[in-house]
Amino acid sequence: MEIIANGRGELIQPPDLEAFREWNRTQKSRKLIDKLMTEREAVEKFVFDGCYIGTELYGTVRCPMSITREVVRQRKKDLRVCGQGVAELDLWLAAGLVKKLDITYIGLEVYGTSFALRRAVESGQVETCVEWSNGAISWRMKAAAMGVPFIPVRAMLGSDTFNYSAAKVVNDPSTNLPVCLLPALILDVGLIHVHRADRFGNAQIDGITGFAFEMARASRRLIISAEEIVPTEEIRKQPDRTIIPYFLVDAVVHAPFGSHPGEMAYAYERDDVVYREWIEASKTADGAQAYLEKYIFDVKDHAAYLDLIGKSRLEQLVEQRERKE
């Protein structure tokens, strides 16, 4: 295949498929092992300085916020991050933990541009931003999930998003059409928050599944946080909802309101009071730091964080939730 164009961005995490297969053969047990642990243990064990890490879902929706905050609390640094993130990546950027970004979208949606992103990138604190579309980053994980080196797509073509990515354009040998080849993305660590899981890691999501299916299968280490820990019989009652089977999972963390201040479909609504507090605080570096102190460094764990938010507030959020009807 003739290469017509090369994106000039760095391939931050080159895929090694043989190593990934070997990893999956030797490092991922097929046995049912109890993986329930605290967020502190999970982050200590599986998140390391300089690792390539990603979070799912998007915006303020079903984000693994309790694990995200623990990563800040443990000051894991030089992170290489793939990002379609708002609430979680904003915190890492503000805490100065991010070295390199495969960026798709980091912004505050209706509230506009991310102040933390602007400061981190415009100051040069983030060394490199490699550009992708939301579709592209998910398809890159899909390629890894398929166990293949790349996936051809018809997006990205002709744009600067392509020019500043690490993709390639080739002439497809069968149709002779130019197609964009996205390199597979194998993450060192994936963080996914779900509605329920058993202690072995079988995990179920209600509502849209974003790119949880792909990320779970593209991650060498996978930390699941769950609103509810349920017996395996509950999982078996509706196996069609199991997006993530246990053998993909390395740690299971019980995290009720784990997406707070974001929302969780059918469970609780976004906490706009705390979210707006972040948006206001993040306008300055000092403000962001004060927020991190209040909500992360000054609380020892997720349970203490929930105490700080307060039971009545959390009950309100449950009351305001979108219902299935």
Binding site: L57, G135, M156
Partner: protein, 244 residues
Amino acid sequence: MICVAARLFQDGTTAFIGTGIPMLAAMLAMKTKAPNLVPVFEFGGTGAILEKLPRAVGEARTFHKAISASGICDTMETAQRGFIDYGFLGGAQIDCYGNLNSTTIGEHDRPKARLPGSGGGNDVGSLCWMTVAIMQHDKRRFVPQVDFITTPGFLSGAGAREKAGLPRGTGPVNVVSTLALMDYDKISCRMRLVATHPGVTVDDVIANTGFDLIIPEKVGVNAPPNVEELRLLREEIDPEKLYI
């Protein structure tokens, strides 16, 4: 602007809906001329009944009573297969060929302003049949050349999309701005004024556009929001006053 955008939706079509004004426009369209519109939200909501205004593309309101709640690969692949008719997009800058920038102002590697990035924009602008940009209209936004082509319009002009490998027959069709409705000349692929909003003159539009906009002999005037459209927007669509 919202009403003009809403009137562009055709009944019985599929449309990719982004955050903000496109959500308001889609809801208004579904309550007026396009009750059978199928809204598609990138993270998996397809065919939702939009009873409450979504504030984000992934939240539960985007799959409220939907026909399907899947994931982003599914929705983007649906567009890639040619099933999504319209895509509604925004950006910080647009040029005469409808190329959109939402990535950086200034040099990419040392930007004056780092913006959010493509999000689903590049996919939507690449893969949907027809894309509509919704923009605030001023010279900082309607520029001769965008600093960064986040989302492809007609790129450098006629034939450029196909040459780059983008699906045949796709591309921008309209721009709805705070001043006017625009489309694109079929031959040159350059942006053309169609109709101004009530109270806006052609000169106002020209003065606020940083490139040579094609001005046809006949420029229309968009109908103002009618009583029913205003009532729907204020009472049913955005009673929480998130946008209006």
